[in-house]
Symmetry: C2
Subunit: 300 residues, 2 copies
C-alpha cells in the first residue's frame, strides 16, 4: 500500500457519504477549506483513540474502532450544542494491517459520519507499531450560543441524559448490550441541539465518569455541586460503574430552576441528579459526603 | 502528573503567548470556539509527528519535537497562502517522561506559535508507550483566495523557494546548519502570503521531496511537468537529497508566465525550475527523463 493509493481509496469511500455543506475543498490538498456561515461560531475538538488504551485489536473490529474514534469527538460537539460539519482523521497503523483493515476502519467511521451528516475532509496517514487514531471534529453553532462548561451557577439544577455505567460494565463483561454500548457509543448530537434551544446553562459530555467530569465542570464554573444520591444506572452496572466509569458519552448539564427540562429529549430520558452550590470550586458531594474526583484519567 | 494538573500548566504556558484574535474560547472546555471573520475562508490541516519515524528521543530535545510538530502543520497553512489562527495539539507520552519534558515540548511549540501569532486552543493528552504528536492548524484566507494544488495549467512556470535537500543531508550527517535545519524547520508563512498576493496558480509545501510532491501537485491539477534539470541544492546536499529528500518545507508553486515572480520573497530566494505541460497527469520529467515519484512516503 502506497500513501497515494490509500488516499485515493479513502477519497472514494468518503465521496459516497460526503455532504459538502460549506466545504470548498476536502481531501487532496495541503488543507481542507471551509466557507463559514455568517452569524455562526465554529467549535473544534480533537481526541485520541489508541490501541491498548481505548481498544484492543483482538476484540474490536476495524469498523468498531472507526466508529468509536469519530464518536468520541462528535460527543464533544454534542456537548457544545453544535451541529457537526467536518472531521480530519489522522491514522497510523502497523504494516501487518492491510487494505481490508483500512477499508473496514473507514467504513465504520463513515457510516457514523453519514448518520450525523459530517464530512471527512482530510487527515494524515502513517505507519507505526501500533494503531493510533486522532480525530478532529468541527461543528457550527449560532453566534454566542455554544453551551459551555463555565455557565453553571449556584441554585441551577444538575441533569444527565440516559443511564450511566453501561460502558464500564460492558468493558468488564464483554457481552450483551453493555458491551455493544461500549463498542459503539452514540454521540448525543440531537440532545445537545435541544439543550441549546432550551438554554441549558452549562453542558459537557461524560467521557471519564460522572465524579471526575462534574468536578471539571464545577471548576470551570467556579462552583461546587451537591448530588442527591440517586443517578440513573444502566442495567447490570454498579453504582461504582455509574460514578467512576468512563466512556458513557451521555450529556451532563445544568439549567436554572425556572427552565423547564422535559423528562425526555427525543427518546432519551433525562434525570435530575442534584444542584449547583457555592463553595470550593470543583467540590462535589454525594448525599452529603465528598465525592473524590476520580475516574478515567487518560494521563495516569 | 494528573491530567487536570497538566492541562492547568499548559493553559498557563499558552496564556503567555496567546493571541486570542477570533478565539472566543480556548483550552478548558469540550471544544475551542472560533468566531470567523466575514468574507474569509478557513483552512485546516493535521499532521502526525511520531517517535522513531519523525524524531528520536535521544537526538531531539522536547523543544525540538514541539517546534517540529507545529512547523509541519504551519507549513501546510503557508502552502495555502493563509494566515495562522489557532492550533489543537494531541500529545501522548510514556510514563518515563515527566513534567520537565512536557514543559520543554510546549515551550518549543509555543515559541514558534508566538513567532507566527498562532494560538494554542486545545487538544488531547494521553499516556502511551511512545511519544505521539498530532497537530491540527487552522488558518484564514480572504474568500476564494486560498492557493491550491489544483490550479497549475500547461505553460505555467514552476518555482521553488529556498534550497532543497538540506534536511535530508542534516539527517544523515547530524551536524552543522543542515542538522539544525532538519531539527527546526521554518514554515514559509510570509512567502505563502506574498504568493497569494502575486496570484500564483498553485502551491504546496515540500514535505516528502520534490519528485513525489510535484507528482502529487500535477495529479491534482491534471497536468504533467518538465523540470529543466537544475534545482537549488542546499550546501553539502546531493542532487539525490534535493529530489527525493523529505522535510525541506520549502514551497513549490506555479504561476502563468505573465505573472512576474521576483527573485526573492522577502529574503527567501526563489528559483524557476521548469514548466507545466499537457500529458499524463502526474508525469514529471527531469531534463527529458522520467522522474520516478519516489520520496518520503509515510505509509511505506
Amino acid at each position: 500500500m502506497r500513501e497515494i493509493a490509500v488516499v485515493d481509496r479513502i477519497r472514494k469511500l468518503a465521496a459516497q457519504t460526503a455532504d459538502t455543506r460549506r466545504l470548498i475543498r476536502g481531501i487532496g490538498d495541503d488543507c481542507a477549506i471551509l466557507r463559514p456561515r455568517p452569524k455562526h461560531d465554529l467549535v473544534f475538538t480533537t481526541d485520541f483513540v489508541l490501541e491498548r488504551k481505548h481498544f484492543e485489536l483482538n476484540s474490536h473490529t476495524p469498523a468498531d474502532i472507526g466508529h468509536k474514534a469519530l464518536a468520541r469527538s462528535l460527543s464533544d460537539l454534542a456537548a457544545m450544542g453544535s451541529e457537526p460539519l467536518f472531521c480530519l482523521v489522522s491514522l497510523a497503523i502497523p504494516a501487518s494491517l492491510g487494505e481490508r483493515w483500512v477499508d473496514g476502519f473507514y467504513r465504520g467511521l463513515l457510516r457514523l459520519a453519514s448518520q450525523y451528516r459530517i464530512t471527512l475532509a482530510g487527515g494524515d496517514l502513517a505507519r507505526f507499531d501500533h494503531v493510533i487514531v486522532d480525530v478532529m471534529c468541527c461543528g457550527e453553532v449560532p453566534r454566542g450560543k455554544a453551551l459551555e462548561r463555565s455557565g453553571a451557577r449556584p441554585g441551577h439544577l444538575i441533569y444527565v441524559t440516559g443511564e450511566l455505567g453501561g460502558s464500564a460494565r460492558g468493558l468488564s463483561t464483554r457481552k450483551g448490550m453493555a458491551w455493544k454500548r461500549h463498542l459503539r457509543p452514540e454521540p448525543r448530537i440531537a440532545a445537545g441541539l435541544l439543550l441549546r434551544g432550551l438554554r441549558a446553562s452549562s453542558c459537557m459530555d461524560l467521557s471519564d465518569g460522572l465524579a471526575l467530569d462534574l468536578h471539571r465542570l464545577c471548576r470551570e464554573s467556579g462552583v461546587s455541586a451537591k448530588l442527591s444520591g440517586t443517578v440513573p444506572i444502566a442495567r447490570g452496572a454498579s453504582l461504582e460503574n455509574a460514578l467512576y466509569g468512563g466512556e458513557d458519552y451521555e450529556l451532563l448539564f445544568t439549567a436554572p430552576p425556572k427552565v423547564k427540562i422535559p423528562g425526555h429529549l427525543g427518546t432519551l430520558p433525562v434525570t435530575e441528579i442534584g444542584e449547583i452550590a457555592t463553595g470550593r470550586p470543583g467540590r462535589v458531594t454525594w448525599a452529603g459526603d465528598v465525592l473524590q474526583p476520580k475516574g478515567f484519567d487518560h494521563f495516569t
